[in-house]
Symmetry: C2
Subunit: 120 residues, 2 copies
Amino acid sequence: MLINELSKKTGISTHTIRFYEKSGLIEGKQDVSVKSNNYFHYDEVTIEKLEFISDAKSVGFTIKEIGQIIDAWYNKKYTKKQKNEILDEKLISLEQKMKEIKEMKKQLLQFKEDVLKDRC
Amino acid sequence: MLINELSKKTGISTHTIRFYEKSGLIEGKQDVSVKSNNYFHYDEVTIEKLEFISDAKSVGFTIKEIGQIIDAWYNKKYTKKQKNEILDEKLISLEQKMKEIKEMKKQLLQFKEDVLKDRC
DNA sequence: AACAACATTAGAGCATACTCTATAGTTGAT
DNA sequence: ATCAACTATAGAGTATGCTCTAATGTTGTT
């Protein structure tokens, strides 16, 4: 599929898709047999990747980090060991985020308590 | 205390502290009895606020959101009801973040499974 | 008085992650 | 053939959140 279809299927703008491609997160293929244009073609895996990118951005991963994870999954150049290391590292950072969120929740509940008891 | 001491006590640079002050997150007081300078003085509550800002940034709250929370806590201009609404809203967004992190965790564990079983 | 170490303001610069504009060429339906 | 709707590339512009520089003034110790 071409970029417009990809955009419609994922809800991500063509501009942003191109930005992600430039950033190395996704990759389209040009059909060398067609000489009249240099249109990029995208497959179903690219849809998967873009959906993953959206989710990963939501939890606060940077483009760079998302690139590492995608490489750990889709890239052939890493060994199993390297892939596992990258994924474990990201899992640890998720645990850390979770901990921080729980602490912030406590803090906000304390603030609510303070408001209730006129301590502020 | 002056800005340098505040910086040392919180580990936040004077530049960033001034940025937060401009952004309305914290507020120093100028001593009107001293006419030779216009130095800003900060109290213990400012330290509390800066520590809160660091924590709140970690969980992904924006400067604007942090400002709302600080106002819900320290500002006299809101009613109890308004303060509770702001805090509840932020608590809901924390729950949402937690959900997203749990889902991302599952996803990364699935990736690990795929790596293990040579599915990528 | 000299001088380091502080203070202020205004504004420039930077990194991240888009978002948009301009320019130019291609495709496909009528 | 025409024309809307697509495609590509390069580069400019935007928002957020700092981070730094420059210019200038103040304080406190020697």
